[in-house]
């Protein structure tokens, strides 16, 4: 496990790189889904009083 994290001494570069990518992509996924759900809810609320 230690060797895996150590990555031949390069771990200090590899893991921040992977970390940043996961963070960035994760944030994009979360924000995208949140915006989608918000828009869907807003539309549903507007379409309701029609009944």
């Amino acid at each position: 496990m230690g060797a895996f994290l150590h990555m031949g001494g390069y771990g200090v570069y590899i893991w921040p790189a992977y970390g940043a990518s996961i963070l960035g992509i994760g944030a994009a996924i979360i924000l995208t889904l949140m915006a989608y759900r918000r828009a869907k809810a807003r539309l549903a609320a507007l379409e309701k009083p029609r009944a």
């Binding site: 990555m7 031949g8 001494g9 390069y10 771990g11 570069y13 590899i14 921040p16 790189a17 992977y18 940043a20 990518s21 960035g24 992509i25 994009a28 996924i29 995208t32 889904l33 915006a35 989608y36 828009a39 869907k40 807003r42 539309l43 507007l46 379409e47």
Partner: protein, 237 residues
């Protein structure tokens, strides 16, 4: 075929059907790619374990460029054929493109540090992507600066097309410039040749990143369609 998407309702139905496939593909491709890249691939003869950064740098760079191309294509459809969804497609692609460009820069910088000794090196690759990031930011800023949605879309479309024409020139000029300066690193992050054990994770990650982009892009277009629908309903009230 493209004009079947012209109808927002059709796009919603079509994208609704396609989404699970793209999302699923993204998850599988990225999962297997990460496993192969982190656990199966051995350290490179020259670069050691840092070669593993290639598996997240090259795919990000690839998507960054692809996104701009798609943005420009959508802009073309917007200006020339007045395709109603083209504006939306271009607008929603930009922030995603900017994100992947930033990831490419960060991972590229971290990849370069053990090789060059500095976090930033004005090499052709990183410099081109820095300029690409500015192109994205300018594009997004233009969309935000113009109040009228329709006019903003047209203006942004012009900018995107000017940008895409300029991009190869920028790339060429940056490459030319790096050969001008001595002390340029001989180490190209791509490495001279890539053996099969690296190609598999690389391609899986590249396809995975692409599927991920497509998934997020489609969701963002759907979001925009829903928001526009809500806006017209609000006008009606």
């Amino acid at each position: 075929m493209i004009f079947e998407f012209a109808n927002p309702k059709r796009f919603m139905t079509l994208s609704g059907a396609l989404l699970p496939w793209f999302a699923g593909a993204a998850i599988i491709l990225l999962g297997v790619g990460l496993y192969l890249g982190l656990f199966v691939a051995p350290p490179d003869y020259q670069q050691g374990d840092t070669v593993r950064i290639m598996f997240i740098h090259v795919p990000a760079a690839w998507v960054a460029m692809m996104a701009y191309g798609l943005m420009a294509l959508a802009s073309l459809f917007s200006l020339v054929w007045r395709h109603p969804l083209a504006d939306v497609a271009a607008k929603t692609a930009a922030p995603l493109g900017a994100l992947f460009t930033t990831l490419a820069l960060i991972t590229g910088s971290l990849w370069g540090k053990p090789m060059w000794g500095t976090y930033w090196q004005w090499d052709g690759r990183l410099t081109s992507f820095l300029i690409l990031l500015f192109l994205y930011l300018g594009y997004i800023a233009l969309w935000n600066a113009i109040e009228d949605e329709l006019r903003a879309g047209r203006a942004a479309a012009i900018l995107a097309l000017v940008g895409v024409v300029n991009l190869p020139i920028i790339k060429f000029s940056v490459d030319w410039w790096t050969t001008l300066h001595q002390g340029e690193s001989i180490f190209r992050p791509d490495g001279p040749t890539i053996s099969a054990v690296f190609i598999w994770p690389l391609f899986l990650m590249a396809f995975g990143y692409t599927a991920l982009f497509m998934t997020l892009w489609m969701i963002r277009i759907r979001t925009e369609i829903l928001e526009r629908r809500a806006r017209t309903l609000m006008l009606g009230h």
